[in-house]
Amino acid sequence: MSTKKIIITDPSLRDGSHACSHQITEEQLLAYAKSADETGIDYIEVGHGNGLGASSLQLGENLIEEKRMLQLARSVIHKSKLSVHVMPGFATIEREIRQAMDIGVDLFRVASHCTEADITMRHINYIRAQGKEVWGILMMTHLATKEVLLEEAQKMQSYGAKAIVLMDSAGAFLPADVESKIGHLSQHLVVPVGFHAHNNMGLSVANSLTAINAGASIVDATACGFGAGAGNTPIELLAAAMFQLKLDSNLDLYKVLETSDLARILFAKNLPFSNSTTVVSGITGIFSGFAKIVERVSKELKVDPKDVFFELGRRKVIGGQEDLILEVASELSKKNN
């Protein structure tokens, strides 16, 4: 494996927001951020599951207001850098991005669906012009070929993104997919490439290691996998594997393990696990953030969540279309009656 230093981004306080229907409390946020700040994690990402400006009835409203959330995080994060997720279509420059800058966010990860990078142009341009660090994120990357992903990544690179992260937002990747897509981008991009896994098929750690092997130098991982659906790459497992493989990073293994133990207590009620729903979600390629909403709506309308996932998969829904869950479920419930 390579000898370069691997950058670790920890979106527990962002992707984990999905896992608890965006109900992260002030106490949880402060305690986790403080502890993570000591581990050598390079970036800690905070916010609503879908990023800035995404607190909504469609996706679920934040318990803590976005501004307050970022201020709290900023007050305890000193060694790591503070990151936010930005999806044009939810977040605007005027409102959310400016506010986050005023609070002192260090890194903006501007994201789009994997084929729609051009909607990030203005946001990336703006952030870069303000002298802040900005990355480009492509989501749901199981839905595009490596050639398309490279094109879209090159667009973001041309706007000024300093790194490109591919998200397996649905947990649908097999190791060979990671190798081919991350490998292709690493070969052809000037900027570093990163990978963000979901664990629907139990492959998050294996896929993250495959990504590193294929040329990725940035990996997303969360404490105990605290994230949407079946969760992300558990940072304690990744750190252990990287330790064994002698992969270089800024992580302090003991402190990562301690932080994970803390997270296991802090987020005990909402830690992700595998069940039939998350497996079906993975094989139908549905955005992991849908899981909680599908569960809730299915229960309410008395339909099988697996049926809902298959129908959503047939309709090729993408992140941000959570409102369609309601339509699909009510259609299924009409059919059942």
């Binding site: 009835l57 044009p88 051009d118 941000g320 409102d323």
Partner: protein, 291 residues
């Protein structure tokens, strides 16, 4: 018989060209000029083929023919409309603005057409606004004190041209402002998704609201009435989820298919704003006929 209202189109891209097809079908409107920049564009060629006068001199062509024009559809860009709108006013032309400039009064024909007839510049808000605001208005007509209202639209990636992609923030701001002011909600939010699925998805719009004690029966009645009214000028507008309470929020959902005049039929988002613009222009024509 009264002569038709003489309209001109400035901006002969896809929106302008589709408008042209709709104008020529109208009993109340005729198109006397298509002004743009590129005589070789498909829109210009289409207009020429229909024997509509065309000019590559854009706003100057409007100025030159102002005496023969009653109303101008502006399908250029927000930037251009800031300049154009001043000229239209000086020339005494009614302007129907299809850009997100927000210069004129926001017009949703099914909701506030009567209040718009004295204006000389109408802004057609956004596609999501034309789809969601009537629903928000119907909800507000039955439920007092809406704490929060939100609208989410999903459109086919292929229906979002370069201008839409670059102006997402303006779309969100304008739609939010529209849905808030027409529903008197305390807060509002707009969300837009571009879906690249093949075959292309139809435009779908959801309205969600937080209301203390919602009147579901009354809301349903008001929504059904509003949808029927909208269907008179947007034939592809369809209610797909009737008002329901789910997880403490009021939800209603519609789908908009386009007419496929010039734009593809999956581009319901582009069709709806054109249908609304035609309805507004026809309202002016009818008002003049009565005068």
């Amino acid at each position: 018989m009264q002569r038709k209202l003489r309209t001109a189109i400035i901006g002969t891209g896809n929106i302008g060209t589709d408008l042209l097809v709709k104008i020529t079908r109208s009993e109340y409107l005729e198109c006397v000029l298509c002004a743009g920049r590129n005589l070789n564009s498909p829109g210009m060629k289409k207009a020429s083929g229909m024997n509509i006068p065309v000019s590559p001199n854009s706003i100057d062509a409007i100025i030159q023919s102002a005496g023969d024009i009653d109303l101008v559809f502006d399908a250029t860009s927000a930037q251009d409309h800031y300049t154009n709108s001043k000229i239209f006013r000086e020339l005494g032309l009614i302007a129907i603005d299809l850009t997100p400039s927000r210069v004129g009064k926001m017009c949703i024909p099914a909701v506030n057409m009567q209040d718009c007839l004295e204006e000389d510049n109408l802004n057609m808000v956004t596609c999501g606004g034309q789809a969601s605001i009537p629903l928000a208005y119907a909800i507000a007509s039955v439920n007092k004190e809406i704490e929060y209202i939100e609208t989410i639209s999903s459109i086919a990636s292929r229906s979002a041209g370069p201008a839409t992609r670059i102006n997402l923030d303006e779309y969100l701001q304008t739609t939010e402002m529209g849905i808030k002011s027409f529903s008197n909600a305390e807060r509002s939010k707009a969300i837009l998704n571009l879906n690249p699925a093949v075959p292309c998805v139809d435009m779908q719009t959801t309205v969600l609201a937080k209301i203390a004690n919602p009147d579901l029966v009354g809301t349903k009645e008001a929504i059904l009435k509003m949808v029927a009214k909208l269907q008179t000028y947007i034939p592809g507008y369809e209610l797909i989820v009737e008002p329901m309470i789910e997880n403490g929020r009021l939800a209603v959902m519609v789908r908009v298919r386009g007419l496929g005049d010039y734009l593809p039929s999956f581009a319901g988002n582009l069709d709806i704003i054109n249908c609304a613009a035609i309805a507004a222009a026809e309202a002016f024509a009818k008002k003049r006929a009565q005068a």
